[in-house]
Structures are given as C-alpha cells and as structure tokens.
C-alpha cells in the first residue's frame, strides 16, 4: 500500500500531504506518525495540507487524533497551509479542529513549535 512520506528535520517531523487520500491511507499516516514520534524523539510535528482540495470529517478526525496522540507523547502538532475554501467548508461541516494548532504557512508553523524544539535540544536530544 502507498504511504505518505514523513521527513525528519532536527527534532521535528514534517509531512506534506500531496495526494487525495483514501481512508486507509489517512489511517496509515496516523499510525506511521505516532510510531515515528517515538522512534525519532520528535518534539514537533508539522503537517502541510496546502495541496488538499478538501478536508472532510474523516481527514478532520485524523488531524485531531494526530494532535491528541502527539500531545500525549510530548510533541506539538501544527497543521499548516489550509486553503481558505477548505476552512470555510470545514466550519460549515461542523468541524472546528479545536484540538489542533494551525498556522497559515510552514514558516509560521515552525515558529509555533520552535519553543518545543529548543526545549528538546536543551534536553540533549
């Protein structure tokens, strides 16, 4: 089965979703990210969804789950690059992604998780 690649960047993990994911692919990403957080001692996770044309309730729940699990594993998750039309649709759908930190782009997303990353370095990671 196809997998979404996960890149390690210092103590952060970077995921760029560039395909229209079917549900099993989204579930696989959730599982892969969780194990990579532990393997890599990651303190931050950045998920770029700028290529996604829609976020439906399944993908929304996946993003929520990733944020919740990574929080428990002491990593911060930021979702970046959501298209304006996607944001409008998500709110009307009834999903507010309350548990997920969002930023407009990768630069701002990195700023959001930088404190975590620096703290990670101090720990000698």
């Amino acid at each position: 089965m196809d997998r979404i690649p996960i890149l390690k960047l210092g103590s952060a993990l970077l995921v760029t979703i560039q395909v229209d994911m079917h549900d099993q692919l989204a579930t696989a990403l959730e599982e892969d990210l969780t194990s990579r957080i532990v393997e890599c001692n990651a303190r931050g996770v950045l998920i770029d969804i700028s290529a996604l044309e829609i976020v439906d309730s399944f993908i929304g729940r996946m993003l929520d789950n990733i944020a919740a699990v990574s929080r428990i594993l002491d990593a911060d998750t930021v979702v970046v690059g959501m298209r304006p039309a996607v944001a409008i649709t998500l709110v009307e759908l009834g999903l507010s992604l309350n548990g997920v930190k969002t930023a407009l782009n990768v630069d701002r997303g990195m700023e959001l998780i930088r404190p975590q990353l620096i703290a990670g370095d101090d720990d000698g990671d």
């Binding site: 549900d23 829609i54 009307e92 999903l95």
Partner: protein, 129 residues
C-alpha cells in the same frame, strides 16, 4: 448529462470526489461552492460504503433552471430507522463523528433523503451556481 459511478471501495470514494470536482468546475461553481459539494459528496460516498455496504452515485450536470450539479447516492443497505436522529450532529451508529449526514445537508443547496429499514437509502444533494 448523467453518469453513474460505483462506490464499492475507499478508492471509489476518491474517484467520486474527483469526478464531482470536474463536474462542479464545468458547471461554473465558485471555488467555495466546488469545495462544499465535493466535501458533501465525500461524506455521502463514505456513508454509502460504510453504512450502506456499497452502492452507487448518479451524477448530473444541470443547466435548467440553473446551472449546477446534482448527485444521488443509492445503496441497498439496512436503511435508516430514524432520519431526524441520523441528521443530528454527533449521532452515529458507526465509529465516525456523526457529522457526515447533517454536514452534507448544510453544504448543499438542496437535500432530500429517502430511506426506511430494509429498504436501502437514497440521498439527493444539489449545489446551484
């Protein structure tokens, strides 16, 4: 113009999304309206697969009385016992968030549902330009 697409796997759900996007673009819907109907189609196609045991969607591009896209999702699954309850946000008989049906209704210009226990489910949505 009318076409029928099978919904028998989660790859089919992706194909439905992509086809609906093309139809919405051709019908001249705005980007936000395209996104709304594609998202609604994704929710309903998943329901057809997960709760209806698979089925199909009839996709129509309409010119009269207005330009738009109409989608009818059909399955021969167990049907819905209480439609009002099924439309309520947060209600689910599966593992989902319970936003699919009510969300799809909010995202559409027109919505109708025809279902009864043992009779399958037929859901029509439309988005007009």
């Amino acid at each position: 113009m009318t076409e029928q697409l099978a919904i028998l796997s989660s790859e089919d759900v992706v194909r439905v999304r992509q086809r609906v996007r093309t139809l919405a673009v051709e019908a001249g819907l705005s980007l936000v309206d395209q996104t709304k109907i594609v998202t609604a189609a994704s929710e309903l196609a998943r329901n057809t697969l997960d709760y209806g045991g698979g089925g199909h969607v009839v996709a129509e591009q309409l010119a009269v009385p207005r330009r738009g896209v109409r989608l009818t999702f059909v399955d021969n699954g167990p049907g819905i016992r209480n439609i009002d309850e099924a439309l309520r946000d947060g209600f689910t008989t599966g593992g989902g968030l319970g936003l699919g049906l009510g969300g799809a209704k909010r995202l559409s210009s027109e919505f109708s549902i025809d279902s009864a226990p043992g009779q399958g489910t037929r859901i029509m949505i439309a988005r007009w330009k």
